[in-house]
Symmetry: C2
Subunit: 450 residues, 2 copies
Amino acid sequence: MHPTKTPAEIDTLINCRWLLPIMPESQIYENFSLAVHQQRIVDVCSQSEAKGRYTPTTEYHLNDHLIMPGLVNCHLHAAMSLLRGYADDIPLKSWLEKHIWPLEKRLVNSDFVRDGTRLAIAEMIKSGTTCFADMYFHPETSAEVVRDCGIRSQIGFPVFDLASAAGQTAESQIHRGLQLHDTFKDHALIKIACAPHATYSVSNKTLTTLATYANELDLPVHIHAHETAREILQSTHQHGQRPLQLLHDIGLLLPQTQLVHMTQVDDGDIRLLQDHKSQVIHCPQSNLKLASGFCPLAKLLDMGVNMALGTDGAASNNDLDLFSELQTAALLAKGISGNAAAMPAHKALRMATLDGAKALGWQAEIGSLEIGKYADAIAIKMNTIQQQPLYNIASQLLYTNSGSRVTHSWVAGKALLKDSKLQSLNESSLIHSAQQWRSKIVPDQFPAGQ
Amino acid sequence: MHPTKTPAEIDTLINCRWLLPIMPESQIYENFSLAVHQQRIVDVCSQSEAKGRYTPTTEYHLNDHLIMPGLVNCHLHAAMSLLRGYADDIPLKSWLEKHIWPLEKRLVNSDFVRDGTRLAIAEMIKSGTTCFADMYFHPETSAEVVRDCGIRSQIGFPVFDLASAAGQTAESQIHRGLQLHDTFKDHALIKIACAPHATYSVSNKTLTTLATYANELDLPVHIHAHETAREILQSTHQHGQRPLQLLHDIGLLLPQTQLVHMTQVDDGDIRLLQDHKSQVIHCPQSNLKLASGFCPLAKLLDMGVNMALGTDGAASNNDLDLFSELQTAALLAKGISGNAAAMPAHKALRMATLDGAKALGWQAEIGSLEIGKYADAIAIKMNTIQQQPLYNIASQLLYTNSGSRVTHSWVAGKALLKDSKLQSLNESSLIHSAQQWRSKIVPDQFPAGQ
C-alpha cells in the first residue's frame, strides 16, 4: 500500500483542504489526499505523502473543499419527484387515498418511472447523496436507470395487496422482484430488496411468503412501519397487536429489516428492535409535513438501535436534499429530547453516512473513507461567506445548508459530478422532461398553490 | 399612475416570470413587472402593460425568476455571526454563562460589532432578507454599518443590569440609546428600539424606566421572553408571576412590544397577548438547537396573535437564512399541532414578510409589493432541477431551500444584490476579516469540532 521508492500508478488522486473520514470517529484531517484505484480507496494520507507515493491518471486539487463519504439516503420513492408539491398540506391518509394513489393508478408507467428516477438521481447527486434506497413501481426500470447513471442503490421491489398502481397480484410482484434480484445479484452498485408497503396494505399471508424468501435469500426487507398513531390503532383493532409485533410473529423482524418512520415507539417496540437488531429509517421532514408524529431519535440511539436517515419521496418533502434532512433530524432530536447536547455534529454526520450504509447492509463497502472501501465520496466548498468564520467544521456542515455547496461526487471512483456539473445525466433535458410531465398531469393548472 | 399616452420616466422596471405580492393574499402573477420610482413601488402590472407605460432608467429581465417582498428577520444579534459555531451542543444557560458572555466581555468592541454586523448583513442579503431587527452591543456602530450597506433595520439598543459585555450601568445604556433614537428619527431605513435583554437580566426598576420612554416616545420594545421553562420557574419563584405578567404590570406589554421566543405559553399568556396586541417573534431553529422548548405557532396564529420570524444570532443557529428558518417553522407547526393543514405555504410566506413588517411597526411601508410601499424586493431563480416540476410555486419556495437561489435584492429601490453579487459590500474582504477574528478568538484551535 505504501511504496517507498517508485510511485504507484493509480486511477485518481483527490487532494483537499479537509478530509472527514467518519471512521476513525470525529476526526478531520487537513491538507489530505484520497487515493483511488480500481473503484476502491487505496490510501488516505497527507498531500505531501501522496505526492511521493502516487502517479495518478486523474488528479483533483480541491483546496477550498472538504471531502467526506457520500451521503446515504435510506428511504425515498425516487420517481415521485415528478409529483413534487403536487398535493401539499394534507394528512397522510387522505394524501395517499385521495390524491397520490388515484393519480398513480392513472399515470404511472415505465416512462414515468424512468424520467422521475433520473430527475431524483440528478437532484441527489447535486446535493451529496451517492447511495439511496428506493421503493417504487417498475423496479426493473429504476434498476436500469441506476445502472446507467452510475449511482449506488438498493432497489426495493414493491409488494401491495390493497389497490395500488401495481395493478398486479402480490404473487406476481414477488415473482418479478425475485427475478430482478437474480439479475442484479453480482452487480457492485445495485442491491435488490423486497419492499412490502406496510402491514395495513399487505396481507399476513403475503408477508409470510416474503418472510420465507427474506430468510432464505438474506434479502433486505424495506417497509413503512409505525408511521402514524392511526396505523397502530388500526393494527391493534384488526390483529390485536402493533405492527412491529405482527412483523415479529410473521418472521419478518430481521437484522436486515429496514423499518421506515417509527414515529410511534413504546418500550415493547424498543425491546423488539434491540432483540432483533432491526434497522430504523428516520424521515423527519416527511413526518413533520404530514403531521405523522415524532420518531424519538435520541432515545432510540441511546438504546443502541441503528438509526439511518431518509428524505422520503419529493412528493412529501419537497426535496431530496439529505443535508437539509440531517439538519432537521439533529435539531428535532435536541428539541424532542430536551437535551441540547443530543446529536452532536459528528454523530449526526455518521448517521447520514456509515449508519445509513449499515442499515442497507453495505457498511463493509461504503459509508466511510477507509482503505479497501469503495470510493463513494463528495466534495463540499467550505469558503463561502455563510460558513465564516470556521470554528467547527462538523457543525457548519450540519447546520448551514451544505447540500447547495456540493461540487463533486464520485461513486466507486467514477465522477458523477465535477465543478457542480452532472457527468452522467443531462440537466436541461431532465428539466424539459419534468415540465412535459407537469403539462400532462395538470394541463390547465397555473402553479400558484392554494 | 397609469398614463395612457406618454410613457412615464421611472428609475427601475423589474420584469419577471412570476410575482408574489403577498397582498393581495395567496396570489401569484405571471409575466409581471414591478415599476419603481424614487424608492417606492409605483406600479405592479403585466409586462405588456408596463412596456407602454414606462421608460425606465434601469430595466431587469428576470424571466426565470420570481419576485417577492424581501424577507424580514425579526430577531438576531448580527455581530455574533463572528461566533458562528463557536460553542455548539450546549443548553442555553451554560451556553450564555460559560461560553458566550465571558467571551463577549473579553472581546466585544466597536471593531467586532462593525465586522460582525457587515458579515451578517452580507449573508442576509444573499439569502433574501432585506430588513432585520438587531439586538447587540455598540448599537451606534451597527446603525452606521446598516446606513452604509443600504439594508433596512430596527436597531435595538441593549439594556442589561446583570454582568455583560456592556460594562455600563443601565442608565448609561438607556441614555446612549435615546441619543441614537434621536439621531436616526428621520432616517427612512433605520428605526431605533429599546432592547432590554430579558426579565431575568434587567431589574424591575430599569424596566419601569423603559416603560415610561416606550410609552412617551412610541419606542418599540424588543425583549427575550419565555425562552425556557427555567425562566418561567425563576420568575415565578422570584416575582410570584410569569415574565409576561410582570411586563404587563410594569407597563411594558404594548402593541409595539416584540416578545422573542415564547416557547412557554399558557392560557393566561395568550389572553395577555390578545388584550395588548403584542408581537411574538418565533425562532424555531434556535429553540430546537438549544433545546429551549416549542413555541405553539399554529395555536397562537389561531388565537389572532401576530407571529413573526427570526433566525436568532448565528452563534445559535448557525446561519441567518430566513428561508431555512421558515421551512423549519412551517414543518414544526404541522408536527406540533398534529395538523398537516396548519401553516399552508402562502400563510408561511406572509409570516416571513408582511407579518414581520407588522411586528416591527413597518407594515405601512414594506412587507408586500403594493403601490406606494418602499421597493424592498428580492428575485429568486425558479428554474433549477431541484424545483422541477413546478406545480405549486408557494410550496416550492417554502420547502426547497430558496435562500440559496436568491439572485437579486433591492431595498427602497436600490440594488444590494445583482446576479448573486453584493453591491454595497466586498465579499472577499469580509471573508478575510472573519478569518482574522477567528485567529484572534481561538489562536490555536483546529476547526474540527468535538
